[in-house]
Amino acid sequence: MQPQFVTDYPALAPRFEVGERVRVRKAAPLGHIRTPFYIRGHEGTIERLCGSFPNPEELAQMRDGLPAQPLYRVRFRQKDVWPDYRGADSDVLEIEIFQHWLEKA
């Protein structure tokens, strides 16, 4: 792993590579979720790995959130997300999504 992604806390190994197609899990658990509702169920492409960070859903419950979850920036085509999107075909949205919310598309 690249040195800048090494953490001083336990972290899960990244499962996805840059350029890989992924789908955001379509789930609606209760609690403090950092995956926006509007993007759940949509497909995108891994743009970059941002590093690994304690799981915010666990932190919100006063737990340590470890092992840390790899966090990715995922790129979505606007026209895939909003079928009636008004704008260029090439317009995109980039969103940070934790690994446990992603699956292979």
Partner: protein, 199 residues
């Protein structure tokens, strides 16, 4: 006395802030001086810091390269402390226009831009910027041509984003200080572009 002045009773949150602050001091958790220092530190963070970073990137190609690859490291070299790995700088080009939003709350690169404007935290901006960015940008007076890709960054987790705008034409030979003076806050959020002498 007919003049009642501008006195207004404290709001719920103001009262909570005063109560919490006084309790922390009374219990010896913090001193009043530490609280003043923290507030001053927040006030010292203003968009001028971001503008300084942009002006350096416009005049120093090696710095720009580093800023795009490792923004915290590049800022540190200017004496600006940014938490490690948590700042991403995205570059506007003739092909791509970037803009930043946080649909979940109001995540914002405070280390470089200070306190976010109220509109950044509004439901209107947060909900529409990901849904119809071209319409929102037009309301800010920015019409992005169809051939330019709009890349909206929803700042949902641990990263903070700042836009590196394009250097306007007609600014060749300008000093860093003069360049920084045309870089405003909105252009680093991506809802405006800096204006040069020809615009």
């Amino acid at each position: 006395m007919n003049d009642k002045g501008s006195y207004k009773p404290l709001t719920y949150f103001q009262l909570m802030e005063v109560s919490l602050r006084e309790l922390l001091v009374e219990k010896g958790v913090l001193t009043a001086a530490q609280i003043d220092e923290a507030v001053e530190d927040m006030r010292r963070r203003t968009p001028e810091r971001g503008a300084q970073v942009v002006a350096r990137a416009w005049t120093d190609a090696a710095f720009k390269q580093r800023l795009l690859a490792d923004a915290p490291g590049a800022c540190e070299s200017l004496g600006i402390d940014v938490p490690k790995l948590r700042l991403v700088v995205v570059e506007n080009t003739p092909e791509v226009h970037n803009a930043v939003v946080c649909t979940l709350c109001s995540c914002y690169p405070r280390m470089l831009l200070g306190i976010p404007p109220d509109w950044y935290k509004s439901r209107n901006y947060r909900s529409r910027m990901v849904r119809e960015p071209r319409a929102v940008l037009a309301e800010f007076g920015l019409n992005v041509p169809e051939k330019v890709q709009i890349r909206v960054h929803d700042s949902t987790a641990d990263m903070r984003y700042m836009v590196l705008p394009m250097r306007p034409q007609g600014t060749e030979g300008w000093s860093e200080e003069r360049l920084a003076s045309i870089v405003n806050r909105n252009s680093m959020i991506g809802v405006a572009v800096p204006k040069g002498p020809n615009d």
